[in-house]
């Protein structure tokens, strides 16, 4: 046991070339900058964080800062991304980006995206690794931090993280809807008929099956082939093909293909990265200057412990849904933070009915008074968001009239090409429920 641990330690703290980490910093920093500018340029700061009246915060106390504040947040996000890219006040820049990005992500569940979650995690690790010790402005300001080497774990953690993303994205596709009904691909693809060349194949069910199976096999296995030196080149070609294809077919997934295509280059060999670095302006030859990296040994056990704990959490999260009975896609308990990407086409209609028990009056809450079309669309099939909104509307009533209303949810939802079914028990007053998530107001999916 001790020997195994020792061996594990040796692997983690082995000195390796810093080149892959530096290239990752450059590429990822550039990506963060691009993503921030893109968000601002598309008007999303206003549309997503300033204009909406109500937000489905992950924490009720967390609120957007208003127009000035939110614009400032995104300005700082952009500046800190520049800091990461240039390696300028790197730790501060990365910490700032990390905190602000988390803040923005936690503001509204409506906008939850797996790849934003990935960005958060990758930024967290960028914060902890010395990606600024080579080819950065920091090395000009503080020359003594310059180092051509880093610990092996500084690079391994990113490879492990990306492997986890692929593996669990693949594992999530191992389900009857995906494999045997080719859903939701069979629903989505026919709409892509106008795509050049490929469009003519999109309405065949066979195409949906092909892409479903290929996607599943790709996700489950590609990371293995990226680890193995001999298959790496071919695997990366597949990475390119896969993500370019998804970008063409599903432009709505936005930054995701770009993130994966760029971050997976961390799998390439140090010599490949050194070559890349040598092409950059002001590059110095890495082999000639050999400043090793000497981290303090006493930290090593703690670092190992943190890494192990992190990986265990990452392995646990995608399985946490097993504690909730029923169909995961239906109740969505334990769905987020698990690399479940593009698995569902869930649609329907959800009415929130507010009842004034004292005057025996009831009405359908006009959701447009509170929510944007996008928020409405996301809420209607996600129970935790329904509860959150129902409680909010109920609270408003209680604040105004001094007594509690009753709130009922009447909903029909269709999942992955099935006919719609009643989603919620509309005889249960949600406002009175103490713990709606664990209660049985969600009617189980009938196959």
């Amino acid at each position: 046991m001790y020997r195994a641990l020792n061996k594990f330690n040796n692997i983690l703290f082995k000195q390796v070339s810093i080149a892959p980490l530096v290239v990752l910093r450059l590429v990822f920093g550039g990506l963060l900058l691009f993503s921030t500018v893109r968000t601002a340029q598309k008007g999303w700061i206003e549309e997503l964080y300033i204009d909406p009246i109500y937000h489905f915060g992950f924490f009720p106390w967390l609120k957007p800062l208003g127009a000035g504040g939110m614009n400032l947040v995104f300005l700082l996000l952009g500046l800190s991304a520049v800091g990461i890219l240039l390696g300028l006040f790197y730790r501060i820049s990365t910490l700032l980006f990390f905190l602000l990005f988390i803040y923005v992500e936690l503001l509204d569940k409506t906008y939850y995206l797996n790849h934003y979650y990935l960005v958060t995690l990758l930024t967290f690790w960028l914060l902890l690794v010395p990606a600024h010790r080579w080819y950065s402005l920091d090395t000009l300001i503080f020359p003594n931090i310059k180092s051509s080497q880093c610990a092996n774990w500084h690079i391994l953690i990113f490879k492990a993280q990306l492997s986890i993303v692929y593996f669990f994205a693949g594992l999530a596709k191992v389900n009857p809807d995906w494999l045997f009904r080719a859903q939701p691909m069979a629903t989505w693809l026919p709409g892509k008929y106008s795509i050049p060349v490929l469009g003519q194949w999109m309405h065949y069910k066979a195409t949906a099956f092909l892409l479903s199976w290929a996607g599943c096999i790709y996700d489950l296995s590609i990371w293995v082939f990226l680890w193995i030196k001999k298959t790496r080149g071919f695997a990366y070609v597949l990475v390119l093909i896969f993500h370019i294809l998804t970008a063409i077919l599903f432009p709505r997934i936005g930054m995701f293909p770009l993130i994966m295509v760029t971050s997976t280059i961390i799998f390439f060999s140090p010599s490949w990265h050194q070559k890349v670095l040598s092409f950059l302006p002001f590059a110095t030859n890495m082999n000639d200057s050999d400043e090793p990296y000497h981290p303090e040994k006493k930290w090593q056990p703690y670092i190992s412990a943190v890494l192990l704990t992190y990986l265990l959490i990452q392995l646990y999260l995608p399985f946490r849904h097993l504690q909730y009975p029923g169909h995961l896609f239906w109740h969505e308990k334990g769905y987020r933070f698990s690399w479940r990407v593009m698995l569902m086409e869930k649609n329907g209609y959800t009415d929130i009915i507010l009842r004034d028990p004292e005057n025996n009056l009831q009405k359908e809450v006009n959701q447009d008074d509170y929510l944007t079309a996008f928020q409405k669309q996301q809420m209607r099939s996600q129970p935790d968001m329904i509860v959150q909104f129902a409680k909010h509307v109920g609270d408003e009533f209680r604040n105004e009239y001094g007594y509690a209303p009753e709130v009922y949810v009447k909903s029909r939802i269709s999942l992955n090409g099935r006919r719609s079914q009643p989603f919620t028990d509309d005889t249960i007053d949600i406002y009175a429920l103490v713990d709606p998530i664990s209660s049985n107001w969600i009617i189980p999916l009938e196959e």
Partner: protein, 370 residues
Amino acid sequence: MRTKGKITVGSIFTSLFILVAVSVLFTACKDKTDDDGPTETDFTDHLTNQINEVIIPTMETYQAKMLDFVGAVESFATAADEANLANVRSAYQAAYLAYQAAAVHNYFANVNVGLIETTNLFPIEVSLLENLIETESYNFSTTAQQRANGFPALDYLLYGPNDVLDYFNTDAKRLGFLEALVSDMKSKADLLVSRWTGNLKMNFIDNGGTQLGSSISVQLNESLIYYEDHIRENKAGIPIGRLGPNDSPIPADATKIEAYYQSLFEGNEAFTLALLRTSVEEMEDIYLGETSKGANGQGYDDLLIAREHSSVDEDIKSHYQNIYNLLANRTTITGDEVLYETIQTLVTLYKSDLFPLLNVQDADGANDGD
């Protein structure tokens, strides 16, 4: 050992892709018959039928009825007597019914023309209307006049006063207003027809697919939004008392029904119910692709059937029948909430079955997906 490892990795990869290729071939053979008839993905036939047989005829009917109405009002202006009043009223009713069908198509040209806001926001504000007439300061395109415009204003003018002939004969400004209003409404109807039969017609047909912004997506979404806001809410929900501002429920209020003054005058809500029925019928015409001659052209029902969802089609059709049956057995809009619930259920059927099965989204997430 090394060589062996190399072969293993390679062979895993190869076998995986052979597996995929085989499964593809297998399914390809099975499903090749998919691409005939209404499963076509650009929907040219469907859209051609919608524009030529459903939308344009509806607009032309409204235009024709408005033309009749203008004629009746002109005669009434020369002699405001019983006979001419009767003609005006019957032309008004015909135009109002034709409007109900036209208004359901609340997208593209209709939105550009601003049809609903200027033609049928009810209830009206009588004091605002009287003031506009008195000061002759009306401008039918302004938002300031939204609550004294269109058919609801006509409803008041033609049925509201105790003695309608006396009302018009004592003040020429009132006749002036009537003529100006009807002529303005007629010019909007003309504009509708010219827009729908112009460039829009081909653009509508060429705008295929079901993605957001496609003709199908726009037609289904916008007509359903009209159904929700104007049929479910304004015509039924508000008078029945199932809707209200923000978080406060409101009691039922029979004064908020459509064609309110006529219902008082006639002592029944038959016309109000007929207006509601006509608007629901146009929703069904869109669904069925039913032509102006009553023939069943290619509609959304055919798209569902082609995708082997005829049970959804049957549910939707029978639900339209439920609404008609309910309206036939009803003498007032207000009363029990069954009418509201039944109207509402159609929205649920559309949103939770029709839309997803046809892969029509109902909102544009202003963000990336997944």
